[in-house]
């Protein structure tokens, strides 16, 4: 399902215009980020939870140039399925 279909679907169910709906999606993403930045887990019942993980820096070899490079540390978002959802799709 692409973005257009998804937004149209949600907009229809909540009775808002698709453009408004997309704005709200952006706001939701923003709020999610704010919550995650404070080192919290966002739990969506029946689906899973979003959390942040810090990745340490590491040395890697660039396959095209063959040179060794240093990848900097970073923070990433991780999504983990809940056990109920896991059982549902298996």
């Amino acid at each position: 399902m692409n973005n257009k279909e998804f937004i149209a679907d949600v907009a229809g169910k909540v009775a808002v215009a698709p453009s408004q709906c997309q704005k709200m999606v952006n706001e939701l993403a923003d709020t999610l980020a704010s919550a995650l930045e404070l080192d919290n887990e966002v739990v969506v019942a029946g689906l899973g939870n979003f959390e942040t993980k810090q990745k340490k820096e590491r040395i890697m070899v660039n396959p095209s140039t063959g040179k060794k490079m240093l990848v900097p540390p970073k923070i990433v978002i991780n999504f983990k399925m809940s056990s109920t959802y896991k059982n549902k799709i298996n």
């Binding site: 169910k13 939701l28 923003d30 820096e57 040395i59 060794k68 540390p73």
Partner: protein, 377 residues
């Protein structure tokens, strides 16, 4: 490090506050959003949401692995899972504390390549931006860097006093979103009001804007971003230890209550024990039979002298195709290339280079030596 759990309801509240929309409409929207997502994932296997990210249903195939305790091959069943890759905006937003970091090339004589593992040297990330950075790029980075230490200060401060921080830390967090130098000044007095007043980290956001005028931003940002993250986590760890200590005391008090129920369970345990021993005797007999059989088979083959395994037959025969190595063929058949010496022995080869294209190689069936010959062989 205890992470606070945010429910959908709390998320809706935050969103309503941030956007100025009514709570009821936001709640309905959030609920519909995730229900639609769930349904869509069942009909299509991929849902892409602009501004958010992509959810994909991935089928993980079954794979052969090795039981770490006894070296036996085990099968891990296949399953379905959902993966989420955040959108660029979301990814960058979360990675803001490390926004100024870039991958860089390491020359062969670089110190980091010799000393220890990268994880020990993550503090050293401080040095590299100073040396690599060009003077022209310092200025734009300076303005971007200033919200970062403040944001991360909130990151760790909020962890320490969660219930209070829930409301108060929202303010500095939202302020941090405005990426302009003026935001830093207005943020500092707010920091003073927030709960963790006596935190040493508080001194740093104030000191940094002054330093930034004279030094390149990256070095200081890097140090504070990384160190604060870790310090915050360390403090969180101390709290976790205290909680564990409390739980231990509670458990200690509950033990007398648990021992009362043991008499009932004993008679049931007796019945089960008898059944178990019958089953065990039958299993032992079956095992002895198969071991005797296998020993006969093993005698037909020349064995590897100091190996843990015994060749008891031929498991498979493969023709070597161009570019294939013996290691790769082993991995395909056994899941590991540990057994290459046994393959060599069975095919009377001195080295894997004898596996030329077109040659047919026999892959042995292996049994653990301990099983066939006991511990002393």
């Amino acid at each position: 490090m205890a992470k606070g759990k945010i429910t959908l309801q709390m998320l809706s509240e935050m969103m309503a506050n941030n956007s100025g929309r009514s709570k009821s409409s936001v709640e309905a929207f959030v609920r519909v959003f995730f229900t639609t997502l769930k349904d869509a994932l069942q009909t299509d296997n991929i849902v892409k949401i602009k501004g958010f990210g992509t959810f994909k249903l991935v089928v993980v195939s079954a794979r052969e692995s090795v039981n770490v305790n006894n070296g036996e091959r085990v099968n891990i069943a296949g399953y379905n899972k959902i993966t989420f890759t955040p959108d660029k905006t979301l990814k960058d937003r979360i990675n803001r504390p490390f926004a100024n970091f870039d991958t860089m090339v390491l020359e062969d004589d670089d110190v980091r390549l010799i000393e220890g593992t990268p994880s020990d040297r993550s503090e050293m990330a401080v040095e590299e931006p100073v040396t690599v950075e060009e003077p022209a790029s310092v200025k734009p980075e300076e303005t971007l860097a200033t919200p970062a230490p403040a944001a991360l200060a909130d990151f760790s401060e909020a962890k320490e006093e969660l219930p209070q921080a829930e409301e108060k830390s929202e303010e500095p967090a939202t302020v941090a979103e405005e990426e302009s130098p003026s935001a830093v000044e207005s943020e500092l007095p707010k920091d003073q009001q927030s709960p963790a007043d006596d935190e040493p980290e508080l001194a740093e956001p104030k000191a940094e804007p002054a330093q930034l005028d004279s030094e390149p931003a990256k070095a200081v940002t890097a140090e504070s971003a990384e160190a604060k993250f870790k310090r915050g986590k360390r403090n969180g760890a101390i709290i976790a230890v205290l909680l564990v200590a409390l739980l231990a005391v509670a458990a200690f008090l509950l033990i007398p209550r648990l021992t009362g129920g043991e008499e009932q369970k004993e008679t049931e345990a007796n019945k089960v024990a008898v059944q178990d021993s019958i089953a065990k005797a039958a299993a032992m007999q079956a095992e002895q039979d198969s071991v005797a059989q296998l020993r006969l088979e093993a005698d037909k083959y020349e064995q590897v002298d100091d190996g843990d395994y015994v060749i008891v037959g031929v498991q498979a025969r493969r023709k070597v195709r161009g570019g294939l190595t013996l290691q790769r063929m082993c991995r395909r058949i056994y899941g590991t290339d540990e057994y290459v010496p046994y393959v060599l022995k069975l095919n009377n080869m001195k080295s894997p280079s004898e596996a030329w294209a077109g040659r047919i190689i026999s892959f042995p069936k292996l049994e653990k030596k301990d099983r066939l010959y006991g511990n002393n062989h």
